[in-house]
């Protein structure tokens, strides 16, 4: 018997799907912006505030990068209430995504900061800047420019990993899919549609981040060429 695809029941739930997509996008954008800001602060703290702060940042990064995202999510959603902090699912999801992403982004941005040649720091210091000013005005933008492609990949991964938030009944795209599946008994069709939507979202985000990178860091390639010249000299 040939397989009979029936997509009509799925499309009948399109309002639900749109809501799910919007929540997935909202969580992802929120986590990207907040996670990026947090990561920059963590890298700055590690670079500027001495050994003990650096070790704390390292510990945080290793903790978040060496435990499953699902477990982190459960810790926040089921664990925090034991401490008297009760977060609704969506907030817990946003917090978990932000913390998780910030750890990966910290590691990436730190590599970018390390790649900035010492001569740039010396130029800033020689112009009477404080180390904080050197970090903020001299190091940060070229460092971000260099690692923007790696950051972008991490952001896309986070978009996809947001599907895990369906485990705490957050009605983002995957959570919505589970509901539709129950309503329609059309598992395969449901997940074909959801797969395609994730694919489109991820590819769109990737292209958008590439464009954004080129807009924010117009000299993204020149940074490297300049240092290559100075090295050769």
């Amino acid at each position: 018997m040939p397989i009979q695809f029936q997509f009509e029941p799925i499309f009948a739930e399109s309002d639900r799907i749109v809501d799910g997509v919007l929540l997935t996008l909202g969580l992802s954008f929120g986590a990207i912006v907040l996670g990026l800001v947090l990561a920059i602060l963590l890298v700055a703290a590690k670079s500027l505030l001495g050994r003990w702060v650096g070790l704390l940042v390292d510990a945080y990064v290793e903790l978040m990068r060496n435990t499953p995202f699902l477990v982190q999510l459960f810790m926040l959603f089921f664990g925090l209430p034991l401490l008297g902090i009760r977060l609704p699912g969506t907030e817990a999801a946003l917090l978990a995504m932000t913390l998780n992403l910030s750890a990966y982004a910290t590691e990436i941005i730190r590599a970018g900061v390390d790649s900035i040649h010492r001569s740039q720091l010396e130029a800033g210091l020689s112009l009477a800047m404080t180390r904080r000013q050197v970090f903020q005005h001299v190091v940060l933008m070229p460092a971000l420019a260099r690692v923007w492609p790696a950051l972008s990949s991490q952001f896309v991964l986070m978009l996809l990993a947001s599907s895990i938030c369906s485990f705490i009944a957050v009605p983002e795209l995957s959570g919505t899919a589970a509901i539709i599946e129950q309503n329609t008994f059309r598992s395969f069709e449901t997940y074909i549609v959801v797969t395609l939507i994730y694919l489109v979202l991820a590819l769109t985000l990737k292209v958008a981040l590439d464009r954004l990178g080129r807009a924010i860091f117009p000299r993204i390639s020149s940074v490297d060429r300049l240092d290559a010249k100075a090295e050769a000299a």
Partner: protein, 244 residues
């Protein structure tokens, strides 16, 4: 009161002693050329003067500041002492104008309008008024180095240090940079410059100092020093066309 006073400075990297008791005095408005083979300690000497390198013993006073490693005092010193490096070290993500205005704005709180006027003024001094909005990577090496000099000048320093600022440049581009430095010297700037340009040292520097193996081996008024070097080491160095 000399503008720069260096007294018996010793500096080691680990076990390697790089400066073995250097003393030097530079009067206000004087131009001193530092020459010597590669590895003789010229850059280290210069970097000790603005505190980029710490030294183990001795004393340095520059533009009225005693050099130590206290960050606050170092910043005060660096507002009065500019340095230009061989590799320009312009900030690649900022335009020429932004490169120049950044430090006056954030370290001296110079108002935007004043910083702008200052930047235009120093850019005119180095002959690059039309490059205000260019990015460093759109400039030639010689132009980048002139911007680096302008960026230092915008801090209105009392003393300027130059570390082989033409060594990374193609020969046809060194002239424009040397010209800017000569103009500065004529304008009365106190300068210490490490250079391989022997003609420039002879013609522009009041005093030339020959460093060898971490010591000041020989020094004197530039013309005399080049006309009649006393030590065999300097004689060899001058004869060899001052390589390294």
């Amino acid at each position: 009161m000399p503008a720069v006073l260096i007294e018996d400075v010793h500096k080691s990297y680990g076990k390697l002693e790089v400066l073995k008791g250097v003393s030097l005095s530079v009067e206000t408005g004087q131009v001193v050329a530092l020459i010597g083979r590669s590895g003789s300690g010229k850059s280290t000497m210069l970097r000790c003067i603005n505190g980029l390198e710490a030294f183990q013993s001795g004393r340095i006073e520059v533009a009225g500041h005693v050099v130590d490693q206290d960050p606050k005092r170092l910043r005060a010193l660096r507002k009065d002492v500019g340095i230009v490096f061989q590799s320009y070290n312009l900030f690649p993500h900022l335009t020429v104008g932004q490169n120049i205005m950044l430090s006056p704005r954030i370290t001296k709180n110079v108002p935007q309008a004043e910083a702008l006027a200052l930047a235009k003024d120093v850019l005119a001094q180095v002959g690059l008024s039309d490059k205000f909005d260019s990015y460093p990577d759109n400039l030639s090496g010689g132009q980048q180095q002139r911007v680096a000099i302008a960026r230092s000048l915008a801090m209105q320093p009392k003393v300027m240090l130059f570390d082989e600022v033409t060594s990374a440049l193609d020969p046809e581009l060194t002239g424009e940079v040397l010209l800017v430095m000569e103009k500065l010297a004529k304008g009365g700037m106190t300068m210490i410059l490490v250079t391989h340009e022997m003609n420039f040292a002879r013609n522009v520097a009041n005093t030339t100092v020959f460093m060898h193996q971490g010591k000041i081996w020989e020094q004197g008024p530039s013309r005399e020093l080049f006309a009649a070097p006393q030590t065999p080491e300097l004689q060899g160095f001058v004869k060899a066309g001052a390589q390294g």
